[in-house]
């Protein structure tokens, strides 16, 4: 939570999140079915995840391991034993009409995650994070849930391990929420327990309320009673960072307008309609649901007391950012970009260990990520070709080719035509022209352009650039423009 100056009459936005993330395990949380994408509906199913009579869940310890990793990463308390409960409710996507989840003894309690926004750091408290099973998915045919002619159920997703991460109401703006989700996703990817590219792998529910600024104390904290007194809306169906910011900005404006106009905000659940960019009321004044939680006797408690010490986690984004800044002398922006995913950071360190860290930073953070981004690609899409990229950096570092050619011709050629850098250099004749040839071109250019020489001698600044251009043309762009400039000046003195 952050200290902020609150003026009298200000309205303060308070947001808390429930984030569902699918954990990357080979098999489902309570059966041996694959979690990989299936060719068609209801292919990765078995008696257990279909909830057939008599089938029993057996805990996949890989899911617990992933949860312990997350717990370590967010500095949470991990109990001696982990237990499961049943959350009872009827829904067509729920094979057993109860969900196996964790109730009063979640695998992670009292953690936190630090985010950085516009140079300021905020710590978001994570109240709990627990394991549960994902339901199946519904396909409404011929309309929405209310108007569809019929609905198809696909249980491929049923039993995919989920981690539900519940934050304290520590967010004061939708921007903070976005930054948190980005940071969380980075951490999860570093832990190799999450795949952001998988459809539906991140689902967010957010609670938002507006509190009178006078209720906020100087250190930014708000009394629980004041929080509870304010009507809040729960916004569902958010599936991306950007979507979260947009949905909550919409909801923030809607509620603030209501408060300013003296209208009461209704306590309700609202649905984020991404395509229309608005939140829509789902059902108002819904009675508090009673899920009749009780212990799942089919899953005996699992002792995890020693797991925390036995399971190692890699260096996390924040620590790595800080180390990059001190070890390689990188600025905050470059360090952030270079730690955005573990693969990028690992690659940067590979390159920086062989060449100048600054040059490596420019090539990885600006050129490579820029060109990938332009093509809507990720570093993982060129996983097998990172060696070639390193070769390209080497060609620049050793002055074999110019930086300009390296980027505009070689890198783009590599990404678009999938050729290796040497092939492109040879094909395009990009090897730097030797000094004699450049010198000859310089003399030629002076010879052929007496007017420009006269202009230069008359003190006209643009003339030298014209002459450089002429030399570059003669050398097919393979000379270094800086060198050419120097050579020209030397000749003309």
């Amino acid at each position: 939570m952050t200290a902020q100056t609150v003026q009298q009459g200000d309205l303060v936005t308070v947001i808390g999140l429930e984030v569902h993330v699918q954990l990357e395990t080979n098999t489902k949380i309570f059966c041996g079915c694959s979690t990989a994408p299936a060719d068609g509906p209801n292919e990765h199913v078995c008696p257990v995840c279909l909830g057939l009579p008599g089938a029993l869940p057996v805990l996949n310890e890989a899911a617990v391991e992933a949860a312990v990793k997350i717990g370590k990463a967010i500095d949470a308390t991990i109990p001696e034993e982990t237990r499961f409960h049943r959350k009872n409710y009827y829904y067509p996507d729920l094979p057993k009409n109860f969900q196996i989840t964790q109730y009063d003894e979640p695998i992670c309690q009292d953690g936190e995650l630090e985010i950085s926004l516009e140079g300021e750091r905020h710590t978001i408290a994570i109240e709990r994070a627990h394991l549960e099973e994902d339901p199946g998915s519904l396909q409404h045919v011929g309309g929405s849930i209310d108007t569809a002619e019929y609905t198809l159920v696909d249980y491929n997703r049923a039993g995919t391990p989920l981690m539900e991460i519940v934050t304290a109401p520590d967010f004061r703006s939708p921007k903070e929420v976005r930054a948190f989700l980005a940071e969380l996703e980075e951490v999860l990817e570093y832990l190799a327990v999450f795949d952001a590219s998988r459809d539906g792998s991140l689902r967010v529910d957010a609670n938002l309320s507006i509190i009178d600024g006078e209720r906020v104390s100087d250190d930014g904290s708000i009394e629980l009673a004041d929080l509870e007194a304010a009507n809040r809306t729960e916004v569902k169906n958010i599936s991306s960072h950007k979507g979260a910011e947009k949905a909550l900005a919409y909801e923030e404006t809607r509620q603030k307008n209501a408060v300013r106009r003296g209208r009461e905000v209704e306590q309700e659940t609202r649905h984020w309609d991404e395509s229309r960019g608005i939140t829509v009321s789902m059902r108002s004044k819904e009675a508090e649901k009673d899920y009749r939680y009780f212990a799942e006797a089919d899953l005996p408690p699992l002792r995890v007391a020693h797991w925390k010490d036995e399971i190692a986690i890699p260096e996390l984004p924040k620590a790595r950012r800080e180390r990059f800044a001190s070890e390689y002398g990188l600025g905050e922006e470059a360090a952030s970009k270079l730690t955005s995913t573990k693969q990028v950071a690992d690659f940067y360190e590979d390159v920086a260990s062989e060449f100048d860290p600054d040059l490596a930073a420019t090539w990885v953070a600006d050129e490579l990520l820029g060109e990938l981004n332009y093509r809507d690609m990720q570093i993982t899409d060129i996983e097998g070709r990172l060696e070639e990229i390193a070769t390209l950096v080497e060609l620049v570092a050793t002055d074999e080719i110019t930086a300009k050619n390296a980027k505009e011709v070689v890198l783009r050629g590599m990404l678009d035509e999938r050729d290796d850098p040497e092939t492109i250099v040879d094909r395009e004749g990009l090897g730097k022209t030797d000094d004699d040839a450049v010198q000859a071109a310089v003399l030629e250019a002076i010879e052929e352009n007496p007017d420009a020489v006269a202009d230069y001698e008359a003190g006209e600044g643009g003339a030298i650039n014209f002459l450089v251009g002429q030399v570059m043309q003669k050398t097919g762009g393979s000379a270094d423009p800086g060198d050419v400039n120097g050579l020209l000046r030397a000749e003309l003195e």
Binding site: L52, K96, D290, F294, A297
Partner: protein
């Protein structure tokens, strides 16, 4: 004879040799059989054909047993007479005109009638021991966790175990040996601390020096004829060298209440999956899914099942959870403690299995409470997760009486030894 014993008669051949070679085994109809209907005695599952075998079925056929059919039972195991079956009652072969007990009534009747050599039942609060006692055969309720429940359609999953029913203690022990032991598909299974699951050689009738505790509370409500037969059995054990002493289990006074709260609570959740979407009776209703589920369930479940689902839902509800479910869990812990300390002073505890002799068919139908109270001696054992055996000890006015022996966790060998001394 056997037309009211089986819901489905079907032959599933086993391997050609093994400890059960040549044995015909009847399976209670709440245990999944691949390709053979498994109805749980319910209209809800009248046409349900599982695509997989329960672990115990695999183990039986692997051991050479031949499965001969799926036996009648109270719907989803909820009953003490087998009259709660959607498919009608089963007569008691040992006492015609009377109920065979329940809920595994078809299994006990199959053995008593000679329609099978052996049978599997399941016991949530006495459902193996009661029909064994009523039909004059042997039944074993194993320690919770000894036998895999994978494929057993759950009624109250923290209480129930699959177990054998047979004509002799030795035959029951042989079947138990085949089905017992850890199963990776049931996370609650454990191997006995002594390691192996050898039981068939324990039926040697040697009770010399055996210390038998007799819980006075479990004799109090029993009918005179039952008590007489019970003491005859005790004398028989004493004459072979066993000693007896009284023990007290003050907690059992609350056991029936605690049992029904826990069993019904779990049932309300376990039976939620029967919504007609993936399998079972849907009723073919159209429209709002919530109403569709409700209509299908209203048609598919019988009254006793509905009663227990409703009571269980209520017991778990916010505001009542602490008053009922949590209190019942506390009572369960107390019962466990009581049994554990009584078994520190005794090798086994003995009581009549049922305080009554078999009801006449139809007699108990209008009074669920009378039926629930008949479970007084059996339900505490499930609450305590302990093993028990019911062995015939004569009759009362021609109606079979059973003696229940309860042992410490994984003390099945002890029970088999003591039980075989009564034969």
């Amino acid at each position: 004879m056997s037309d009211d014993i089986f819901i489905t008669e079907a032959t599933i051949d086993g391997e050609s040799d093994g400890p059960l070679a040549g044995k015909q085994v009847a399976i209670k109809d709440n245990i999944s059989t691949d390709g053979v209907k498994t109805t749980c005695g319910s209209k809800m599952l009248a046409d349900y054909v599982p695509p997989y075998d329960a672990t115990v079925v695999e183990r039986i056929t692997d051991a050479g047993g031949t499965i001969v059919g799926k036996t009648n039972m109270d719907e989803f195991g909820m009953g003490t007479t087998t009259e709660m079956s959607y498919f009608g009652p089963t007569d008691n072969p040992a006492a015609p005109g009377h109920v065979p007990g329940g809920s595994s009534g078809g299994s006990a009747a199959a053995v008593a009638a000679g329609a099978a050599d052996l049978a599997l039942g399941s016991d949530t609060g006495g459902s193996i021991r009661c029909p064994a006692a009523f039909c004059g055969v042997v039944g074993i309720k194993p320690t919770y966790g000894l036998v895999s429940r994978y494929g057993l359609v759950a009624y109250a999953n923290s209480l129930e175990q699959i177990g054998p029913i047979a004509g002799t203690v030795e035959d029951a022990a042989t079947l138990l040996e085949v089905i017992a032991g850890v199963d990776e598909r049931d996370g609650t299974t454990r191997d006995p601390p002594q390691g192996d699951v050898a039981y068939s050689d324990a039926a040697d009738g040697n009770v010399d020096g055996l210390s038998i505790g007799i819980p006075t509370e479990l004799l109090e409500g029993a009918e005179d004829g039952v008590v007489d037969a019970f003491w005859d059995g005790i004398e028989q054990l004493e004459s072979q060298g066993a000693t007896t002493h009284d023990v007290s289990l003050p907690s059992v006074e609350h056991a029936v209440e605690a049992y029904y709260v826990i069993a019904m609570s779990e049932a309300s959740s376990n039976l939620a999956r029967f919504d007609g979407v993936r399998y079972g009776h849907s009723g073919g209703f159209d429209g709002n899914w919530n109403e569709t589920f409700a209509a299908g369930r209203a048609e598919g479940f019988g009254d006793e099942v509905k009663r227990r689902i409703l009571l269980g839902t209520y017991a778990l509800s916010a505001g009542y959870h602490d008053k009922y479910y949590k209190k019942a869990q506390n009572a369960r812990a107390w019962v466990k403690q009581d049994f554990d300390s009584a078994l520190e002073e005794a090798d086994v505890l003995a009581s009549p299995t049922m305080p009554v002799t078999p009801f006449e068919l139809g007699e108990s139908l209008d009074d669920p409470l009378q039926m629930y109270l008949a479970d007084a001696n059996t339900v505490p054992v499930n609450l305590a997760d302990l093993p028990a055996i019911s062995v015939p000890v004569g009759d009362a006015d021609g109606l079979p009486v059973g003696m229940q022996l309860v042992g410490p966790a994984f003390g099945e060998r002890q029970l088999i030894r003591a039980g075989s001394a009564l034969e």
